[in-house]
Amino acid sequence: MFETIIGLEVHVQLNTKTKLFCSCPTSFNHRQNTNTCPTCLALPGALPVLNEEVLHKSIQFGTAIEATINQVSYFDRKSYFYPDSPSAYQITQLYTPVVEHGKLRIDLEDGSHKIVRINRAHIEADAGKSIHDGEISKVDLNRAGTPLLEIVSEPDMRNAEEAVQYLKKLHSIVRYIDISDANMQEGSFRVDVNVSIRPKGDEKLYTRVEIKNINSFRFIQKAIEVEVSRQIEAWEDGTYDEEIIQETRLYDANRNETRSMRGKEEAADYRYFPEPDLKKAVITNEMLKTYSQIPELPDQKAKRFVEEFGINEYNASVITSTKETAKFFEDMMEEGISAKNAVTWLTVELPARFSGGMDITTSPVDAKKLATLVKRIEDKTISGKAAKEVLDYIMQNDEDIDTVIEKLGLKQVSDTGAIEAMVDEILSKNQDKVEEYKNGKEKLFGFFVGQVMKASKGSANPQAVNEILKQKLS
């Protein structure tokens, strides 16, 4: 039996207004190479100046993971030649990172929890982008010098599920505290996975393989699983030492396999040394005080939802998994509806109607509207079934709930007089069935309800119908 050891390195692109070491804007959807200056182009003589906003966001992150925040940290040069790295060195923090020794709680499917330790989070500059176009390679440096926070976990995860839960929690946290938009497709939340295996019970760590830049949680899960299989197979075949080497591999989603990226013989020597163009980065007590005030985090929010609204832990964790869903829920609760209904309509009914990449942030039905719909069920204006029809309709049409209820004729009749009249009519039309029912064929009760509902075109309050029928048939 084998045990899997997983450590994760995540590059989070910080959503500062300007770049890490110059005043160029960080929005890089502009025309190529326009958001650049002597510093981020690495022209002769240009120098870096640290953007303090990056320290603020680092403090916020350090606070969120209950880490040590180093009030004095240093920058280092990491040398390597690549066309999209203008100075041919990356400014990073090797020796003294800004954040160290944090932790993250992850929730697992079986309801258990686990604490994953975070070794460090350090500040570094992003590279530009290389664009390969046939025989020609082009470089766009709009992204060069954008601030990254590289978050390095301890090798605490033991399977793909734990790894994905860790990443989801991390993703959620950086969005809650608004230090990054953490868009995986656009590369503002980039994951490198370190995977090794060992026989269960063994204490030592074996060869670690790095899988780089996988851009969805699903692929990360698959990449880990397929890499673990590769390593176990090699072990069992007796070829572990030859086949499993410390290297970087890429995950090919189409073939569901990992592939070697660069060979061992080209292992880079980054020749790190302290960056002489920058002084130490100092976090004053005042900065620390100001920026350690962070918004409520997912775990705290979930706990509060359980206490305040009486929903269960599972639902609370689902709702708080993204800050947008949590906000949606809170906005719904503002309308004074029951938490149980809010949960159902938010987590089941609404998402079931999402199509074409739609999510809670792009939902055509906002929190207030969905809450109003729930309210109409609660005040017995419409039935639950009718509400689903209304939701179907308003997903397509931006119209007022009450207008839609009128328009679709879904208003529920709760006037007992009207319902009584309908019941009387149905019962008199079906004397024979009434006899059968009275003789013990109780199954027929459903038939009567159905007939009354049909006669009311679904608008009768089913509860009232039930009560009146019971009365009349007794």
């Binding site: 003589g45 066309p83 203008p86 002489p276």
Partner: protein
């Protein structure tokens, strides 16, 4: 040549005449090869600019083939400050390629001659700036000093060269050699001009994180009559040539006569300076020069793929001395050697700083040679090691970040200038200029 102080008094018509006259003189002295370009930027008193200081729209090349064709799109902070003070950048001066050298011979533009003796080197790396001032074809010039690159050519050519405290002058726009050592400074005809130009280019700059962000000035308080305690270093002087020893002894006598207190002090053996310096400087230089890859600007060599592009561009673009230092820098930073070289060098650097601190608790200034001898003849420093050793008196000042000023104090029997340097504690440029101004007058 008119002094900077005098030139600053001229009206615009007189300035125009001065500029025309200067241009004629520069052209007449082409043989010196002090200038590698005659670009002009800004109005006012013309100042010659070392070819590693960025002036907007100038071709600034660090005297390297790899930067041929590069045009600077921005001004160095010192240029901005000069423009604000009514000075204009006028002409690029020759230098050792990327400021790596002590003779200006490693320039891609060929050697510069020493105006005092055409068979001798002008020193380096700011050899073009020193030769231009000494040759009467510049009123004053800017140089840069990483291990003596202002003071040593000033001494060889018989002019004043000043290296400010690390952090006094913004490095923004100075093509970097070694970031923790580089400082821009003035090369002038006399001490007062050096003080004037120093005041203009120094001061705070938010664009340079290593700048001290201090704006105090020296000229308003210049006082040549201050009585100071001046440290002398006999053990250092031992290793200099007879000419230099003699000049040193005579200068000490003059200082005594002026009423200064002379005190014998000792510093670390210069062999530690040289080791610490060449490790630190080359480590930084290796990374600073890594950006010259032919991708974005400068000279790009033909190639079939990216690896070839790097190799061809850098093989063709850099000269031997630059390549030697890049290799050395990569070596001292490589894994397995980092602790033994780079880390140890930083410890030595710290020791050197402490040693100076101790000395400066007892004296106001230190008097030291600038170079072991007068300007050597071309080809006389046959090996790189001989050249590195010739830096023995200047580099500890950079390692400790101190201000220092090289002043011509005598001529040898052949009439060649000998310079000595005064060294002050960090940010004490005032005492440095006061002492130098008094000494200059007394000589």
């Amino acid at each position: 040549m008119i002094t900077l102080k005098e030139a600053l008094e001229l009206d615009s018509q007189a300035l125009q005449e001065l500029r025309n006259d200067l241009k004629k003189k520069i052209k007449a002295n082409k043989e010196l090869n002090a200038y590698v370009g005659l670009e002009e930027a800004g109005e006012g008193v013309p100042i010659a600019i070392k070819d590693n200081i960025q002036v907007k729209d100038w071709s600034v090349t660090c005297a390297s083939n790899i930067l041929q064709g590069y045009k600077a799109p921005y001004n160095a902070t010192v240029i901005e400050k000069m423009h604000q003070a009514g000075l204009g950048a006028y002409g690029r001066t020759n230098m050792d390629e990327f400021a790596m050298g002590s003779t200006t011979e490693s320039s891609c533009y060929g050697k510069t001659l020493n105006p005092c003796d055409y068979e001798r080197v002008p020193g380096g790396s700011s050899g073009g700036s020193a030769a231009a001032v000494a040759g009467g074809i510049a009123i004053a010039a800017l140089g840069s000093d990483t291990g003596g690159s202002i003071r040593q050519p000033a001494a060889y050519c018989g002019v004043v060269g000043m290296k400010p405290t690390y952090g006094r002058v913004s490095r923004y726009g100075l093509g970097a050699y070694a970031s923790s050592l580089d400082q821009i400074g003035p090369i002038t005809q006399n001490v007062e001009d050096a003080a004037i130009l120093y005041d203009i280019i120094s001061g705070s700059d938010p664009k340079d994180s290593t700048n001290a962000q201090r704006d105090d000035k020296v000229v308003p308080n210049l006082d040549p009559n201050r009585k100071l305690t001046i440290g002398i270093v006999p053990s250092y002087v031992e290793e200099a040539s007879e000419d230099v020893k003699k000049a040193y002894g005579k200068t000490v006598e003059v200082l005594k006569k002026m009423g200064h207190t002379i005190k014998e002090v000792s510093l670390l053996d210069a062999k530690y300076d040289i080791s610490a310096y060449y490790i630190t400087a080359t480590a930084e230089a290796t990374t600073n020069l890594a950006r010259y890859d032919g991708i974005r600007y400068g000279n790009r060599a033909p190639a079939q793929n990216i690896k070839e592009l790097y190799i061809n561009t850098r093989s063709e673009g850099f000269g031997d001395e630059v390549k030697r230092r890049i290799l050395l820098g990569n070596f001292v930073l490589s894994s397995g050697y980092y602790d033994a070289y780079y880390v140890k060098a930083q410890k030595v650097r710290h020791l050197i700083k402490e040693e100076y601190e101790k000395v400066f608790s007892e004296v106001d200034l230190i008097l030291s040679p600038v170079a072991p001898s007068v300007a050597p003849k071309f080809g006389e420093l046959a090996t790189p090691m001989q050249m590195y050793l010739s830096d023995m008196y200047t580099i500890s000042v950079n390692l400790a970040g101190l201000p220092a000023l090289s002043l011509p104090v005598a001529r040898n029997d052949e009439g060649l200038p000998i310079g000595l340097q005064l060294i002050a504690k960090p940010y004490d440029e005032q005492t440095l200029f006061d002492g130098a101004l008094g000494l200059e007058a007394a000589l």
